[in-house]
């Protein structure tokens, strides 16, 4: 048996959608583009498609690498590829950049055809339901009637869960990883701090910073720094950084002295180089708004009454952003509805970010679950 391999070179694609779409906010987008990638082959029965939904900062570039950037593989490259747990020799994998994103799909930095200028502040607030709707249109475009699997971690998992509600006939299995059925007040609070960091940056210009030729870099940096704190566990930070100093001794000034300070500044800087501030605002809003049980009086069991998919739910013990308790809320609703579900609670130290890590127990579970899916 060959060692699990990389997909090698991959090429992003774009799909143009010209029929108007009504968003949950009531706003209508007349036309939009979605950037996507596909790996593997859609089989003759067209029943081997897997949709990978991204979380906050990721994109359609799930696996493999670009010719001009061979050192940076896709964000879930350790999971997706030939003979990897999501085996592209068996499955036709689709990654998509969500509407409102900043990696190629129509988003706040795109040109608004009505004004000829970037959308900026005028770009509508998008929701998980909106994304799922646009993903279904991409499926139509690709000739996929029904996904074998829709999967994601964190916000991506919320999309997978929403798929089972919005399109119960178009999804056979949902992989809901490191998820929550809705955000807690604490989760929303962190998001609000991130948004305030961006919106109070003088370079934000009410969201229309493109015209000023600036980027609210300081706000994005802070937003990313606070996000990063919530992605890691206390133990993981202690393990990785501890109280280590960059230069061995205290200098009694406000430079980045501790390694953790340096790490957060680096992550913040890197993020502010490539991420759109308006996209960040909208994605955090999509997180805050996600609450599929709301229309059922807060009863998630009722919200999932129409779901028919099989589920793999995975949580990580050290994840305090979306703790195992939150996954158990989803689990209860699935069991109440007597849906097929497997739940793995992985004893991993990495916090919320564990869903992106190459952990043998976690990956074996995904592999075993996917191995059971019969394909035409």
């Amino acid at each position: 048996m060959n060692a699990p391999g990389s997909l090698g070179l991959v090429i992003p694609c774009k799909a143009q959608f010209d029929s108007p779409i009504r968003l949950r906010s009531g706003a209508v987008m007349d036309r939009y583009e979605l950037a996507y990638e596909t790996y593997g082959q859609l089989n003759r029965a067209r029943d081997n498609a897997v949709l990978v939904c991204h979380a906050l900062n990721a994109s359609h570039h799930v696996a493999g690498f670009y010719a001009n950037d061979p050192r940076n593989p896709g964000w879930w490259d350790n999971l997706v590829g030939p003979e990897k747990p999501v085996d592209t020799n068996r499955f036709f994998v689709v990654g998509v950049n969500n509407l409102g994103g900043c990696h190629g799909s129509t988003g706040p930095a795109s040109i608004n055809p009505n004004s000829g200028r970037p959308w900026g502040a005028d770009f509508p607030v998008v929701t998980v339901e909106d994304w799922v709707q646009t993903q279904a249109r991409l499926a139509d475009h690709l000739g996929i009637e029904r996904f074998a699997v829709v999967m994601g971690g964190s916000l991506g998992a919320m999309q997978a869960l929403q798929w089972t509600i919005s399109y119960p006939d178009r999804i056979r299995h949902a992989l809901v990883i490191a998820a929550a059925p809705k955000l807690s007040a604490q989760n929303i609070a962190f998001n609000e701090v991130a948004r305030q960091a961006i919106m109070t940056d003088p370079d934000f210009h009410g969201g229309n910073f493109y015209a000023h030729g600036v980027v609210p870099r300081r706000g994005l940096r802070l937003a990313r720094m606070i996000g990063h704190i919530t992605y890691l566990s206390d133990d993981a930070m202690a393990e990785k950084f501890g109280r280590a100093l960059r230069n061995g001794a205290l200098k009694f000034n406000f430079d980045a002295e501790f390694e953790i300070e340096s790490y957060l500044r680096y992550q913040g800087d890197k993020f502010s180089d490539y991420f759109d501030a308006n996209t960040y605002l909208r994605i955090t809003k999509a997180l805050d708004y996600f609450d599929p049980a709301a229309e059922s009086g807060g009863d998630l069991t009722r919200a999932l009454a129409g779901a028919r998919a099989g589920f793999l739910v995975v949580s990580f013990t050290s994840d305090w952003r979306f703790s195992p308790t939150r996954s158990r809320e989803i689990l209860k609703a699935l069991v109440d509805n007597r849906l097929d579900v497997t739940y793995g609670e992985i004893d991993a130290p990495h916090g919320h970010d564990a869903f992106l890590m190459d952990d043998a127990r976690y990956h074996s579970l995904i592999r075993a679950y996917l191995d059971n899916i019969a394909l035409g």
Partner: protein, 214 residues
């Protein structure tokens, strides 16, 4: 969270495949077709798979061990990774036809709590356990050693079992807890034992519910 794992003796048989233990047939015979079943400490999921195939049961297993979770997935049964000692908080009262605890009761610390939870969530409960009163076990104790047998396969120092008890102990427990025994099968080496069960039987299988008169 604490991980005081409740290990079960339901491990994956060497070479894989479905391990049909003798008590599976007894349990399947008690379960009505299409029943909704919760199997606590489901091990590799082989009982659930057997009940699914033999009785069309709709089942969920609860299991703590990573390897058993994987084995259960490979047996194509629904398995939820959780610690039994933390109870069955996620399950509605009276929501399952049967809650099963197979070869696990002796490894659970809070016996009364888990039996109480089984009868809260399930309309009926089924337990199987190794009979400490089995003659082979008594003989080893008489010889001054802790018993090791096919139903108690561990040494004293590595056993996951924390409560060893006999058939008479269990029935006395049930009487004290207001539990009505509905059916009992006692076995040894795969054969049903009808005479002197507490002496001749190495494995006991019970079906019971809450005695409504109590």
């Amino acid at each position: 969270m604490t991980r005081t794992s409740v290990q079960t003796s339901n491990s994956t048989p060497a070479g894989g495949g479905l391990a049909v233990r003798p008590e599976f047939d007894a349990i399947a015979a008690w379960i009505r077709p299409g029943a909704q079943v919760l199997d606590l400490g489901c091990g590799d999921g082989s009982l659930l798979r057997f009940l699914k195939e033999a009785r069309g049961a709709l089942g969920y297993g609860i299991e703590i061990d990573d390897a058993n979770i994987l084995a259960s997935v490979r047996n194509r049964v629904n398995v939820l990774q959780s610690d039994l000692e933390s109870g069955l908080a996620g399950f509605e009262s009276g929501s399952f036809d049967y809650v099963i605890l197979s070869q696990t009761l002796q490894a659970v610390r809070q016996t009364e709590k888990i039996i109480g939870e089984m009868l809260r969530v399930g309309r009926q409960a089924i337990v199987t356990f190794p009979n400490f009163g089995y003659w082979g076990h008594r003989l080893q104790v008489l010889k001054g050693r802790m018993p090791v047998s096919s139903t108690l396969p561990y040494q004293w120092y590595n056993t996951p079992n924390v409560h060893l008890f006999t058939i008479r102990d269990f029935e006395s427990f049930c009487a004290g807890q207001g539990i009505r025994v509905l059916e009992r099968v006692v076995m040894d080496e795969g054969r049903v034992i009808s005479t002197l069960p507490n002496l001749m039987g190495s494995l006991a299988v019970y079906r019971f519910d809450r005695d409504q008169r109590s």
